[in-house]
Symmetry: C2
Subunit: 331 residues, 2 copies
């Protein structure tokens, strides 16, 4: 028997512990081509909130009564696959279970020599690739341009800012905590930071931090922070819509200032994307990210929760803006 | 002496006759390199509303007490230029005056043999080029895709729809008048039309007219019409922000449903542009448009007002949705 966490009910607004339930399930025998895995590092990510609703989206909703599924790094504890042996670490989109039996095919074998395992959920995983393709492919940053990133201390945001610095841009980070901002400024060498929770006039603060306007806005949060940034975009600006975490828990249609007149006046571009759009080019992105990690140009932070049963709590913490960098749960 | 129309005061909300004033001014002698022009066809365009305000935009505001400036086709009545002779027709950004003396340099000489003069203000002028580059360059229409155009019976919209048809797309036009929609359907062969004024549930009507979603939305109007269209965009949709005429007379910041979550979920692109962004490629656009006009693939309509003093009235009519095709004033 092993523990499994299911979606007990769809959240209305912010998820609560009531939306989750832990239960015991049988783990089947390992058949040919399969492996038995012991969970090691779970990834909790904002996009999973979307899957908890049944609204039309780019990804199918979770089913009530079934296991939550997400990114997981696990250790092979029994193998009937030629390609994986006991002790190997693998990554996949896997259920919230302590143990599971799964087809070996489709699992990605990880190499601990290249990077610490947790990196594969962060800077060398989906968040890193999201930052890489969103910023470089959509944003097309030019040397000397000003890049603003919201959710700057998050799993994606801190990579965006550092890649923008590597491209020779001025980087302004927006986050909701002075300690996080300190880290961005001192450790990651952002040019300026804004604490949206303590700044009285956000629009003015952005204008001050971006004297020649915002050329690229990498948006992880949406809502009023984005309203303020968009007032400051320059001619030909690019707005990358990566996340809208401030709206994911909305219980009714969110309203805000209409942005099309500004998009028009500034001949600006806004582009939404999901990382799956770039799957054919993941290896290119990973090569670049690995290179920057190895030569010290990219640093990364992980916030980890301990214990399988802390998964719901860790997930809910995403919406409190508590995490610095990638949020994971270690079993 | 000649008549000149000046901006008497900046409009608050909808422009009224009180914002304009006709006065008599001296016309100077013609110096070397100059010509004297008699106004023939004035272009009145929605973008001019923006210049009547003093808000930051892509084009400098008109000054109160000075002549309104816009597109004009005029006849040379006296010439001290080697390049222009009496009787020639020229086009330029010129003041609202019956007669004027102006440097010949910078005026575009028009050829009546290629097309009727009025076409140079419409299908072979800025509106035609706007439709051409907006749709093809930003929209990148593919055969079989569905294109929705708002302001479909306007100077730009009717060209957009026809070019989309030439590209093999399904074309759905939105306009506010049954007679206009009849014209789009029967004369311009749009696949479907929606009268936004008489349709109770616009979102539903768009969903019905676009069973596989909206791949390209060419937006001339903004506001609630666009809200409804955006709910129906398909994965990878392109939204071209060409105009926002429903908002140009707003006296406070317009609010509406936030669109970024939809842009994100559908990996959609939104791009604002002004035709000046494409000036280096005007001749390419004009060649294509002229070709389509000559072989009958592109039709065009002009609504004309008569008499110099009807300029303010004609301009104000733009915001009433009264015009079919390009609105001009004939002197």
């Amino acid at each position: 028997m092993t523990k499994q966490i299911i979606l007990k009910s769809r959240p209305t607004g912010k998820p609560t512990t009531d939306n989750f339930k832990t239960r015991l399930i049988e783990v089947p025998q390992v058949a040919d081509g399969e492996v038995r895995l012991a969970a090691h590092l779970f990834s909790v990510d904002p996009y999973m909130r979307g899957r908890m609703s049944d609204a039309k989206s780019y990804i199918a909703p979770y089913q009530v009564g079934e296991a939550i599924v997400g990114g997981l790094i696990a250790r092979v504890v029994e193998s009937k696959s030629k390609n994986l042996k006991v002790g190997d670490y693998v990554m996949g989109r896997l259920p919230w279970q302590e143990e599971m039996v799964i087809a070996a095919e489709g699992l990605q074998k990880l190499d601990e020599k290249i990077a610490p395992l947790s990196y594969y959920l962060g800077i060398l995983g989906m968040p890193g690739l999201t930052a890489y393709f969103g910023l470089l492919d959509i944003g097309k940053p030019q040397k000397g341009e000003t890049v603003v990133v919201s959710g700057a201390a998050g799993a994606v945001g801190m990579v965006v800012g550092q890649i923008a610095r590597i491209q020779g841009c001025r980087v302004v980070g927006i986050a909701g905590d002075d300690a996080k901002n300190d880290y961005l400024l001192k450790e990651l060498h952002f040019d300026a930071v804004i604490n949206y929770k303590t700044t009285e006039n956000l629009e003015e603060a952005i204008a001050l931090a971006c004297p020649s306007g915002v050329d690229i806005y990498f948006d992880n949060v949406g809502g009023e922070i984005s309203d303020a940034v968009i007032t400051q975009i320059s001619k030909g600006a690019r707005i990358i819509i990566c996340g809208q975490i401030s709206l994911y828990n909305a219980t009714s249609q969110p309203f805000g200032p209409r942005i099309q007149p500004t998009i028009l006046k500034r001949s600006a571009l806004m582009q939404g994307f999901i990382i799956g759009d770039y799957s054919a080019r993941f290896s290119q992105g990973l090569r670049a990210l690995t290179g920057w990690v190895n030569n010290g140009l990219l640093k990364y932070k992980t916030t980890s929760y301990k214990g399988f049963e802390s998964l719901p709590e860790a997930f809910m913490a995403l919406f409190e803006g508590k995490n610095l960098g990638k949020l994971i749960v270690e079993v």
